[in-house]
């Protein structure tokens, strides 16, 4: 509730997010139009609209980990309230997940609003061919994102230039994990990089559930591997956060902004 109150206390920020998200979509759509067959003028005519819209959802979801969870610690650090935050009689993880819940809620609203806006201006809707499998993929993705976000939140106690790293990771994710285009577009030696990053498989599974596209690995293996990766990432994130915090407490670097 504190996070939600803090968010709605800055109406310009809320309004800005609602304006910028669809604007990013238009910006990319116009750029891509140049490559579409000359007989069609927009990506939706060439069948890419739903693909890109879903790609934007993947990007927004990933941003909840980087800027939702990861930045929690950095925000409190720069505001000078991190010590009070850590001295509160609640688990660190609970506090961080609380922040994630706020970002997830507001991002879901933004996704819904953007989809509706694009539908109203004639963009069409994303129809999921298998909603249950899509939700399963989404659930696995979110578990992995929380783990990743926790690791990132820990990292902010070590690295102060958070914004640079967050941006590089974010853009790297957009390009390497195939959020906006399938990894088959990536030339072969670089495609191996995509294939060792877990997020590639969550995106692939959700896209498979939405559009019945072929999966990178055989379907059962990909679901099993993704489930194992989700649990592993959550555990690694949790352990890494605790270890980094312990080390930062010893060095007295928790509140160094």
């Amino acid at each position: 509730m504190k996070e939600l109150r803090s968010y709605f206390r800055q109406p310009a920020w809320v309004l800005g997010e609602f304006i910028s998200t669809p604007l990013w979509f238009f910006f990319f759509a116009l750029g891509v139009t140049l490559f579409a067959p000359t007989t069609s003028t927009t990506p939706q005519e060439s069948g890419g609209f739903s693909f890109f819209l879903l790609g934007f959802v993947f990007i927004i979801l990933f941003s909840t980990a980087v800027w939702g969870i990861g930045q929690t610690v950095r925000n409190e650090q720069t505001a000078g309230t991190l010590e009070q935050f850590f001295l509160a009689p609640a688990s660190r993880i609970t506090l961080i997940i609380g922040r994630w819940a706020r970002v997830f809620l507001t991002d879901t609203i933004i996704i819904g609003y953007t989809t509706l806006l694009l539908y109203l201006i004639g963009g069409g809707l994303v129809t999921l061919s298998n909603p249950a499998l899509f939700l399963l993929g989404l659930g696995l993705f979110e578990i992995a994102l929380i783990g990743f976000g926790l690791f990132f939140a820990g990292l902010t106690m070590r690295i102060k230039s958070y914004n640079t790293i967050a941006n590089l990771v974010f853009f790297g994710y957009m390009i390497i994990c195939g959020a906006l285009f399938p990894i088959t577009v990536i030339p072969m030696p670089f495609r191996y990089v995509s294939m060792v990053i877990p997020f590639t498989y969550y995106i692939d599974l959700m896209r498979h559930a939405a559009f019945s596209t072929p999966t990178i690995l055989p379907e059962v293996i990909e679901y099993t591997a993704s489930a194992l990766l989700s649990v592993s990432m959550l555990l690694v994130g949790f352990i890494a956060f605790n270890k980094i915090e312990e080390s930062a407490r010893k060095q007295g670097s928790i509140a160094t902004s």
């Binding site: 116009l30 750029g31 000359t38 890419g48 390009i175």
Partner: protein, 282 residues
């Protein structure tokens, strides 16, 4: 530290500019990550658009692109747009937000009480960015041309001259934001939207003719539109600045108009802030 030996005349102005310039450079060298980000982002966005384009266009992506732009050199075409976008990004982020940063640190009043004219102060703040944007341009465009179009490498010089003329109106736009931000205090979301609008309206990754006619009117009043178009013509179509005199004249006109409008708006906001005590509000 630069100690001002006089408070009036040309020498005082130069000393003030030197002091503000070095302060800005120190800030950049203290946080090199920001500069690295400005260098990397143009490549990342270009790769992203390129990847999406390959997916949409398949084997004919380059042919479709050439049919609409007149060139098959996708990377150079997109990088030139990216580099100009990054330049305007730096100007909006730095010149627009710098006074808000001073306000948050509690040092805005000291800056405004210094025996330095506001215009001198704003120009001084822009000088660091001239160096930073020059660095971004030469590194990003230079590396791209050296790899993707070495035969046109020397066109980087006239392309840079086009950018240099375009920087003046861009700084004028920066002054406009500086005043607005003192008043409304929400710089980050505003700059994000403005940067995105600039990218969309100025044809960063596509010709502006692709935009609806009424949007093209908005593109026509933004200096970046002319800079991007001129650079593409110079680098990819072997044109010279002389042959592009029409758009150069427009850029020069904008170079007179924007700083004058920006400064006038800034002074209005400053006047109001002085009456209402907005300067020291966090």
């Amino acid at each position: 530290m630069i100690r001002m030996e006089t408070t009036s005349g040309v020498r005082a102005i130069l000393q003030a500019w030197a002091a503000i310039f070095w302060k800005g450079i120190k800030h950049y060298t203290r946080y090199p990550g920001n500069f690295v980000l400005y260098l990397v982002i143009p490549f990342l966005f270009t790769l992203l658009i390129f990847g999406m384009g390959q997916f949409v266009g398949g084997n004919n992506a380059a042919t479709n692109f050439a049919a609409r732009t007149g060139t098959t050199n996708i990377i150079v075409y997109e990088i030139l747009g990216s580099a100009v976008w990054m330049t305007s990004w730096v100007v909006v982020e730095d010149v627009g937000v710098v006074l808000r940063d001073e306000q948050m640190k509690g040092t805005l009043e000291q800056n405004f009480l210094a025996p330095v004219n506001r215009f001198t102060l704003l120009i001084g703040m822009s000088l660091t960015d001239v160096v930073i944007t020059t660095g971004i341009f030469f590194i990003v465009v230079g590396v791209t041309l050296a790899i993707a179009l070495p035969s046109a490498f020397l066109t980087i010089i006239p392309a840079f001259l086009a950018l240099l003329v375009g920087l003046i109106p861009m700084f004028g736009i920066g002054f406009l934001f500086a005043g607005y931000i003192i008043k409304f205090k929400e710089p980050y979301i505003l700059t994000q939207i403005v940067n995105l609008l600039f990218a969309t309206l100025t044809g960063t990754y596509y010709p502006v003719t692709l935009l609806p006619y009424w949007v093209q009117f908005l593109s026509g009043v933004l200096p970046q539109t002319y800079v991007i178009d001129d650079m593409r013509r110079i680098v990819l179509a072997n044109q010279t600045l002389v042959s592009l005199y029409g758009s150069v004249f427009i850029l020069l006109a904008l170079a007179l108009a924007y700083p004058a409008i920006g400064y006038a708006v800034f002074k209005q906001f400053e006047k109001k802030a002085g009456v209402t005590g907005e300067f020291s509000k966090y």
